[in-house]
Symmetry: C2
Subunit: 599 residues, 2 copies
């Protein structure tokens, strides 16, 4: 068991210096998002996360959810915590005010969401899925469906789920078999089984709103024949009260490696005559609607990796400060706390700087989304949106892979105690392991970056990013500060590796597809490494500015310079290695040879 104290200072720094939150309140539509409001919200959220949600994290892990005859029961304290969460308005923090949300910008919401994930990942998944479903309804629901469902989901009175996966259809949604039959009254009857449905059932709210992908009778095969349906657990009467129980049931829950308190349900629709459902938007456009939500959901999962990394870092730091072992290698002092040992310090630094770099990427991206949102359907709006969409697989892939690595370092710092479940360090690692899989595996993020985000505009967006990185390299070089210049030199080398690898991919995309495909994940790692170094470089420039002026928390800014330098020395050299791997092509795997034949 460990406490969680939200890193408000670093969050605020990332918001102000990297996401451009401070300037946001000057943009029409975000006038209310003032620095003062942000202070108040971050403080309240930090309190709620630390005091209400964090203490339930280990209880959730040990108790888990149970499936009984009346459905799924959440662990002790869950229901009350959820009620308090909704009551305080946290559920709808970035949802539109017209439907009961707070209407706050993503670049503020991102910090609140990180806190909730750090405090209790299993808990956070309910609201995450609900927010996703809300986005879908905002995108494509009729006014009538919106009026019945939206406000209750935004306030958190009801939760939402996303039903994509079927046993035969994991990442490959073309294989979906669930079907929907039109009824005379304009509704549908939905039939099929869905698996891996997060919070598919629970006891925290009176109703659950399932969004289900299924096929209409005349639908074309493949992904172009999938429609989206709203299937409530309880039907809703005309006056808004709950009606009959719908034919949508959780038939089993999974026994998982982690996030034990998040019920992962097998859902059966229509086993008793058909589940009443309502078509969302137009027929056969379900996948398209799903992809609209995907950006936010992937950013959210990237944030989960960051959040678990932060929690693991705090716990490891706390342990290292308390645990006394061995002699100080430099001073010779006997029986020092292990945070004095160089390799423990190295691991703590690695945890800290990798979390901060990924946080910088996630918050920066949320700022892009705010600007895209504010600018709407203009050239500038599109530019910001495409930049955000370019960053999203980097944040998702990078944040989650980092989360697995960093929570593992957290165990390592605990030594043998890290392997004992009571310590709680292992839970973060177990919980993290799903994040590189759900909402699209790391391999899928890499393909998205390479084949969609990079190639859809022939590298135009990528060149914008390269230009931004190069501007940071130049600013660091021009700073006159040797620490910043050292960072700039490493960043410049890493950027060169990234651009070279990108050119290689562009040149080889047609001639050697197999090599380009195997290069995708190393290319993603390369992009993550450079983007992390770039934003740490920007952070260092900002920090150095405050140090020069003697403004603000000087100790915090000094530390930021050191973490940026550490990232540059320890992480940026890997960029060249990833680039070499990308450009190695098809990894020496001759086509058509079954390499695994002997195994």
């Amino acid at each position: 068991m460990s406490d969680y104290r939200a890193p408000v200072k670093d969050m605020r720094f990332a918001m102000d210096e990297l996401a451009g939150f401070r300037e946001l309140s000057r943009i029409p539509g975000f006038e209310e998002a003032t620095p003062d409001l942000a202070d108040a919200i971050l403080d309240e959220a930090a309190k709620f996360a630390g005091e209400v949600l964090a203490p339930l994290n280990r209880i959730g892990d040990t108790e888990g959810c149970k499936l009984g005859p009346n459905g799924v029961t959440t662990p002790a304290g869950w229901k009350e915590a959820y009620a308090a969460f909704s009551e305080a308005g946290w559920n709808g923090i970035t949802s539109p005010a017209e439907f009961g949300g707070q209407g706050l910008p993503d670049s503020l919401g991102v910090a609140v969401k990180e806190m909730v994930c750090s405090a209790n990942l299993s808990f956070s998944l309910g609201p995450l899925l609900t927010t996703g479903a809300v986005e879908a309804l905002l995108t494509c629901a009729s006014d009538e469906l919106k009026s019945v469902y939206l406000e209750k989901m935004i306030t958190g009175e009801w939760t939402g789920t996303m039903n994509l996966t079927e046993p035969q259809a994991g990442s490959d949604l073309a294989l979906i078999r669930s079907r929907a039959e039109p009824q005379a009254d304009g509704s549908y009857r939905v039939f099929g089984q869905k698996i891996f449905i997060t919070y598919g059932d629970h006891d925290m709210t009176d109703n659950i709103v399932h969004l289900v992908l299924a096929r209409l009778p005349d639908a074309p095969p493949g992904v172009k024949g999938i429609s989206m349906f709203l299937v409530p657990k309880f039907l809703v009467n005309a006056d808004g009260s709950l009606g009959a129980r719908n034919d949508a049931h959780c038939v089993s829950i999974e026994h998982k490696l982690g996030i034990h308190a998040s019920p992962t349900c097998v859902m059966a629709y229509g086993d008793n005559g058909g589940a009443v459902g309502y078509l969302l938007g137009e027929p056969n456009r379900g996948l398209e609607y799903m992809f609209i939500m995907m950006n936010e959901a992937r950013l959210g999962v990237g944030l989960q990796g960051i959040a678990l990394g932060e929690r693991a870092y705090q716990q490891a730091l706390g342990y290292a400060r308390e645990r006394k072992q061995g002699r100080d290698a430099i001073t010779g002092e006997a029986l020092v706390s292990i945070d004095k040992h160089p390799d423990i310090r190295r691991m703590l630094m690695l945890m800290k700087c990798r979390v901060e770099a990924c946080r910088a990427m996630a918050y920066y991206t949320s700022g892009l989304l705010d600007r895209a949102h504010a600018a709407g359907h203009t050239e500038e709006g599109k530019r910001q949106l495409w930049l955000a969409e370019f960053m999203i697989p980097i944040v998702k892939g990078g944040g989650t892979e980092m989360g697995v690595d960093v929570t593992s370092l957290g165990i390592q710092i605990h030594g043998g105690m890290g392997f004992i479940e009571e310590t709680g360090a292992a839970q973060h690692w177990r919980d993290s392991r799903i994040t590189t899989i759900y909402e699209g595996t790391t391999g899928i993020q890499a393909n998205d970056l390479l084949f969609r985000k990079l190639m859809r505009d022939q590298g135009a967006t990528a060149k914008l990013v390269f230009g931004e990185v190069y501007a940071t390299v130049k600013a660091l070089a021009a700073s006159g500060n040797p620490e910043l210049q050292a960072i700039g030199q490493r960043l410049g080398t890493a950027l060169k590796a990234w651009t070279e690898a990108t050119e290689w991919l562009a040149a080889n995309a047609r001639s050697g597809l197999s090599g380009v495909l195997t290069a995708a994940v190393p290319y993603l790692h390369l992009a993550v490494t450079v983007c992390g170094g770039w934003l740490m470089g920007k952070a260092a420039l900002a920090a150095a500015g405050y140090l020069d002026k003697g403004e603000g928390d000087q100790a915090f800014y000094r530390t930021k310079l050191v973490t940026a330098r550490f990232y540059a020395d320890q992480l940026l050299p890997q960029a060249a290695a990833f680039a070499e791997t990308v450009m190695a092509g098809d990894c020496g795997v001759p086509e058509g040879v079954d390499l695994f034949a002997a195994d």
Copy 2:
């Protein structure tokens, strides 16, 4: 649940081509270790591991061990499997024949041990600890103690344990407080509590032989005042029959992240008047005796990482061949098994080549130990021993870190199913997580490599290794085979990085100790990366030879060339990055600054 089929072909290849097993039977003392005998033993061991031990692996995970009033109960089937294991003589395979062992060389035993670990890591730990205790008795026990205990431990009739850790003394044995009081009859009474005692109690044998580190009344403080005692669970009568129950009890067992079926005990000695113990060797030399065993134990744990990587690879490959998802990106064929997808193939190749590279290192090292053993106290014997000792932290650190990475890839290949415990993929990852911690953390291995193995002879042994790697670089370059030359080029670059980093460390060891200390783990990764590439290069040379001659299993040798090339392209570029990180020095961490102050 997954099957395990021992990779006998690759094991035999590593034994013959890298460990020099084929030549071993010409060395006096190893005449019996003929290729035919090896065939027979590997086949039998493979059968036993696959048919008896592997099916118990998941049962062990789900049932775990229980502590009741009569001590620890192992899971269903454990006791019978252990009896069969001992009966077949597997326990004493490398122990001296004069005490009932098989007296076989390490370079054959290593393959058998790998099989047992792959099949069932929790099971393997009992015999591993027993073998360690046997080594200790062989080193320092009186003839009397040897005659009473050794044969029964070698045959497996009794098991052994190692009792080092105490709550306040983890990696820092100077803090040990357990004490031993001399008695008039020459025995001792031992008092104290020990934690993390693997197989400290169980129901598989009639007796358990605990080796306990404790202090004599007049012992000097610190590590020079620690003695080693033999404390049996049941005293042994003069006729060899079991006597009174000794005052040595398991008081609790840990709830762990993995290896659930290996009981991790808190042991209480002397709570009821004192546990009868016998001094092993001379007073105050306990730590020295412990270090003698350490080589073998660390090699054994490195092997565990390899074994789990192999098991995870087999399971992931099996799943990828069965699971159908998506379209072939190159041929366009619909609904192909996922082993056709480039990124899945990349992950499978990464698993395979990393396991094979680490296997090569471990088996090579066991060959060095055999030669050291055969040559005894000669110059040649010392040279071989020091080479082996140089390799051991590389095998331990490299094999275990690889095991964690590769079992994680195993989960990733399973997608969402990997997160479901029933699949069994997650167990390998959980089990692997202890291996980078026990028998010395990765940080401790790195310090051992740098400050002991590298510096104790001013780099002389390292230069021998560099020379061997260089010889392989030259042979690859001279081969006339473009595949081999490509490998040679990458290996040459990587070797240059390793030598440069080594020279930097030698130059800075005195002036900037802090930087050298933080460089230790990156330096270990560098050594692992290059040694893996070196032995894969040697393997490729051998394979190419057989291909040229048209001898042996041509498909196997062709695959070996590809895995070697894959390793060179995907792993060797990282050597330069690790070297840069090593030479970055103290990672920009100014001394005396509390970087974590804000956290």
